[in-house]
Structure formats: C-alpha cells, structure tokens
Amino acid sequence: MSVDTAPRPVEQAPAPRGRRARLMGRAPQDTPAGLGTYLLLAVTILFSVFPLYWMFVIATSDDEALAKIPPAVVPGNQFLVNLEEVFSLQDVFFAAGLINSFIVSTVVTASVLFFCSLAGFAFAKLRFKGSGWLMLFVVLTLTVPNQLGIVALYIVMGKLGWNGTLLAVIAPGLVTAFGVFYMRQFIVNSVPDELVESARVDGATTMRIYWSMVLPAIRPALAVLGLLTFVATWNDFQWPLITLSGTDFPTSMVAISDLASGNYVIYRRVLAGAFVATIPLLVMLFVGGRQIVRGIMEGAVKS
C-alpha cells in the first residue's frame, strides 16, 4: 500500500478538546473500546448464537411446542427422544452419515496436510526448472471454482465406478491449490535457507529435511490448514448430494437433507440431527478457535 504516510506538521492541527480530542489522531487499535462498542459486539454475538440456540430449542421440543404462537424459546426435554427417532429411522442413514463424515473429513484433511506441505516445501525452498511457472499455475487455479466442472466430474466418477461411494467424495478433496499456496507462504518465512543448506552439506536427503526440519517448523500452519479443511469438508453439501443421495452411506449433511425431504418431515427430528452434526465443529471452534481466527486473518479462502 503506497500511501503518503509522512506526518504533517503537528502545529497546524486545531487544538482539540475533550474526549473527542483524546481519540483524535490515535489509531483505532490503540483506542480503548467504549461501552457502545461492547454493546454492539454483544448484539452481534447474540445474532450469531441465536440460530444455533434455536436449533437446540426445536431439537429438544415436542410437536406441540412447535405449533405454538408465540414460538417456544426455552429448550424442552425431548432431546433424547428426538435423537433416538433420528438414529432409528431406517430410511435415513444418520449414524452412517456421521461416521462417513468423520472418515471423509479426516482422510481429506490428512491428505491435504501431507501433499500440500510437501509441494509447498518444494516450491518454497527447492530449486527446479519450471518452478516459477508451476507456482503461477497453482495461484491461477485458486480462483477457478471447481464446482463448475461438477457435471463432468460426475461422468468421470461414473466411468471409474466410484459414484455412490465415499471415494467419489474423498478423491476431489485430496489436494487443494489453496493448501499449496498457504504452505509455501508459510515455509518461505519460517524455515531459514541456511538451515536447509547446512543440512544438505551434512548429507541429509530432501525428504529427511522435510520430515525432520520443515514439518516441525510449520506446525502452527498445519493446525490452521487442518482445521479449515476439516470444517469445509464436513460442511460440503452439493457434490456429496449429487453422488451419494439415495445410497445407504451418505455424509451427515446429505442425511440431514434426507430427513428434510421424506414423506414425514418432522422438524424436531431434522434439527436434532442438524444439531448433532454441528457439535463436532462447535468443539473444534472451542478448542482451535484461535487457530481458525488466525488462519482466516492470514487470508484464508472461502471454499
């Protein structure tokens, strides 16, 4: 950002007075937040939480509570009843959906971390012909929404015989351009060139260097990328719906949409299912919130 930042002569400023004066000229991040700021932030958080809270209210209610005006705003005591119904429905494979979501998200996350850090390391620290062009290619593909190839992807998976299996959902997620890009940026700054060079002189192979020097150095970045990938994979809906709907092993998201499209759509069930499928992510936010915040602030991309 090339902005003329040279401070102008201070004397020209009119003498400020009162509270306003204290605020003036101070960067916002040095300005203590006032009561108003806290209030507005609290309202924002309230808006963020409300749908989740209400999801829980409906998930714990019986049918009557839902057919009331004004709507119920206090959780009921039917959560276990509703949950039991969700899990025992024989035409919605909810338990399988949860397990599948775990399998898919874990495999995809592990694979993204491994392959993207490998490639990121190569682009950041190794010299090889064509690396510049190849990296440019990676950056360009960042902007292409690969959802647009979804019709052809379905045909490809059909030829492979993978449609309707978890492989169809896992395979396209195994690597991401963003992962390579993010890893490269991080490795460039966090692994000193001299360290790599001296390891070479000591006779360490490239893989050895990756394994014992790079990986430990980029743990924070792996945590960030891992969390973001897991959340995005868990929440993915369109492609799993296309390839897995109507099978006995959907992902949890597809299973929820099945709950919402049968002949008996019962919202307390739908939302009990939705709530259960949200819990793992709430736990991740609670445990890894700091990392997720950091990852996004470093320029994560919407998936």
Binding site: D63, D91, V107, G164, L166, L215, G246
Partner: protein, 427 residues
C-alpha cells in the same frame, strides 16, 4: 520434541492411507447386497409413505433367517427420480422398487431394465388382478411384466366429525355423503363451513385437483401420448380454482411439515382420501383417533394413485427378491397391509374375504372401509397415464400453488397451467 512430532505425522499419514482403504472397501461392499461369507442376503425395498411393510418384514425375516430386509421410504417424486437415475447409471437401484401408476408408463417403456416377472412365473397371478391393474405395468408388446400391483387408490373423503359438529354440519357418514353429490355442492358446503367457523374447509388446492382429475375419463395424456389439457385437466382445474376463489382452502403444501401439523391442529376439516391416505393420517396425527370418519367422494367414483412393486435387473439377488415380492402380494399379506395402513389390495377376490369385507377402521370411527373402498375400485374405468405424467402433474400442481399463495391471478391461471404442462411434456 522433534521425534514425537515426526511420530505423530507418520501416524497421521499411515492413518490416512488406512482410512482411504477402509472407505474404498466399505464403498465397494455396499454396492452388492450379498454379504459373502455369512450367506445372508440383504434385500432393499424402496418406496414412499407407508406401505405397511414393517410387521411383514419382521415376519418374513423370521421365516427366512438368511434374508434381511431393508425398508427405505422416501418422498414420492424423489423415489421415482432416484430410480430413474439409478436405472441409467446402471447400478445402485433397490432390489425391489415401488412405482406409482402415475410413473408406470415411463418405466414400462424401459422394460429391458427390469426383471420380466413373467419369466419368474408371475403369469399365474394375472387372473387374480383387476385386469386394468395388470395391464398398467405390462410392456407395449405384452411380453414383459415389470411389476406386480399392490394397492389401488379408490377415492373417498375423510372428514373431522368434531369440526363438522362445531360448524353445525351433520356428522353421520351417509348424511355427509348426501351433502355433496357434486363438486359444486361440495364447494358450497365448504363456504358454509368457512363462513360459520372462520376456519378453512379443505387442506389444499392440489388435493382437490388430483382426485377430480382421477375421476375423469382421460387424464393429462391420451393413449396416443398426446397432451390433452382441454379435457379432464380443465374440469379438475376449474373446480380447483373455484374452490380457491371461494377461499375454503388452508393453502397447505401436501406432504410437508405444516400440512402434517394441520391434521392435528384442525387447520382443515376434510380432505380427499384414497385408501392409502388413511395410513398417513393415522401416522401423522395419532392424537385424532376417533375424530375422523369417511364419506363418499363427490361426483361418483374415481381413482388416485396405486402402486406396483418391481425388480430392477441390477438387483444382485433377483431370485430372493422375487420370492419376497411374490410373498408380499399373497392375500394374507395384502389383507394385513389393508388392516394396518388402509391400502386397498388390487386383487378383487379379496374384497369378498370377510377379513376385508367386514373390517371396520377404529381410527376412523369404525367406518366400514372394507365396504367403501372395494365398491369404488370395482366400478373403475382406469385412466391412461402418459409417459410424462409425473413431471406434468408436478408442474400443474405448482401453478395451483401459485394461485393459492396469491402470486397468480385466477383468470390467468389456466393459460399458465397449459403452458407449464406443455413444458413438462417436452422436457
């Protein structure tokens, strides 16, 4: 520190490969229903709503320890679309797939994708069926039978006696039937009811349109596959719009959550009731037991819906699937289903069976359903339902919904319905 890190990373990598393989294997094994080794066979049945199969499943599994039955109920249109998708994809269809008469022509046109039940000895069953029911799933050349009929949707009207009483209307089923010999009279009664109680009379416009269409000689399509909107569809559509203009509809979308709630909350007092609807009411509004009764449908007999069970060729267990299918259409099972969920068998000999003829449904105030519905079914002249019947119906229903929610003017509605139907016929 470093050491533990690389251990961790290695574990993740190994775990990833392992899980991929697990996923791959689990993905594969489920495409076939045969769990090799244990010798048991899993048969999957796809259908919609309630086919009354729950108890029968238990019974069959007890008698056949090597068979496991998996019941999979979905949404009506979605199940048919899914079956079509699986048929062209070449795999993934259920071992037994239910189809509705509205989609029968579409699927019998692809008879090469279904097991020819005549090869399995189903020919001996022909004489037991209502002749038109048998023909509905027979291929054009008469050589392939893709499905065996389960139920027919003979029409009647279900009404809430408590709400009728509150509006000062008679509650006795014969007197109620006498209230509405025609659909015009029916709409008048609705206006009376709505005027008195300020509540709505019927559930939705589409649930008026479908039964009236079912009463017409010709439906959307002629037997030459010509879309003919000016015949039956026009009659049904006009009555529907008239009812909507009289403001007697609760404007609910059928088979959706709010509609289901309406059964309990009394959002409407009457709805068209093919035999298969009884099960749905019982299931959604168990608390209203005894408050319902069944009267005759205005305008004489009619049919709305009715299903078949088919075996897609993709099934890995065709023989076991046929055994189950044949068992399911036996009188004993059909009677069981009738008593349980109300679906009326399509085998006329059963109508004389005391188990059906004398059956009174306690949920519906002991209405003699074993008399009401068979009488309807026997007098039926079936309607031809074209190849694009399913999508056409969906499109016209959507036009009705737009009139209902006020975004389409009633006088412009018919032109729109014709346009939408033509669109579907060409899709």
């Amino acid at each position: 520190m470093r050491r533990s890190w690389s251990h961790w990373a290695r574990a993740v990598a190994v775990g990833a490969v392992g899980l991929t393989m697990v996923a791959a294997c689990s993905g594969r094994s489920t495409t076939g229903g045969d769990d090799a080794g244990s010798g048991t066979v899993t048969l999957k049945i796809n259908f919609w709503g309630d086919f009354g199969l729950q108890d029968l499943k238990t019974k069959y599994e007890a008698e056949h320890p090597n068979v496991k039955i998996q019941l999979n109920s979905g949404e009506y249109n979605a199940q048919h679309e899914d079956l079509q998708k699986k048929l062209v994809a070449g795999s993934g269809a259920a071992d037994i797939a239910a189809i509705d008469e509205g989609y029968a022509v579409q699927f019998r046109g692809q008879s090469d994708k279904f097991v020819n039940l005549l090869d399995k000895g189903a020919g001996s069953l022909e004489s037991k069926y209502l002749p038109w029911k048998w023909k509905q799933t027979l291929s054009a050349d008469g050589k392939t039978q893709i499905g065996l009929g389960t139920d027919v949707g003979g029409l009647a009207m279900c009404y809430r006696t408590d709400l009728f009483a509150a509006a000062g209307l008679p509650t006795d089923r014969d007197q109620v039937s006498a209230l509405w010999p025609t659909w015009d009279k029916f709409i008048e009664v609705g206006q009376q009811y709505t005027g008195k109680t300020k509540k709505k009379f019927i559930d939705s416009g589409t649930n008026l349109f479908n039964p009236i269409l079912g009463q017409q000689q010709v439906g959307f399509y002629t037997e030459q596959e010509q879309l003919q909107m000016d015949g039956g569809p026009k009659v049904a559509f006009d009555y529907t719009v008239k009812a909507l203009q009289a403001d007697i509809s609760a404007k609910l979308v059928s088979f959706q959550a709010d509609w289901d709630k309406g059964f309990t909350s009394g959002a409407f007092a009457v709805l068209a009731c093919p035999a298969w609807m009884l099960g749905h009411i019982k299931e959604t509004a168990p608390g209203t037991e005894g408050k319902w009764d069944i009267a005759a449908v205005p305008g004489g007999g009619g049919n709305w819906g009715g299903s078949f069970l088919t075996i897609p060729k993709q099934s890995k267990n065709v023989d076991e699937a046929y055994k189950l299918l044949e068992w399911l259409v036996q009188p004993e099972q059909q009677i069981e289903i009738f008593k349980k969920v109300g679906n009326l068998p399509s085998q006329p000999a059963l109508y004389a069976d005391p188990a059906i003829a004398e059956f009174k449904n306690p949920f519906f105030n002991d209405a003699p359903v074993g008399q009401i519905f068979p009488k309807m079914a026997q007098g039926l002249t079936p309607q031809y339902q074209g190849k694009k019947n399913g999508p056409t119906r969906v499109n016209v229903e959507n036009v009705i919904r737009r009139v209902e929610n006020g975004t389409l003017k009633p006088d412009a509605a018919w032109a729109e319905a014709v346009k939408e139907a033509e669109k579907a016929s060409k899709s």
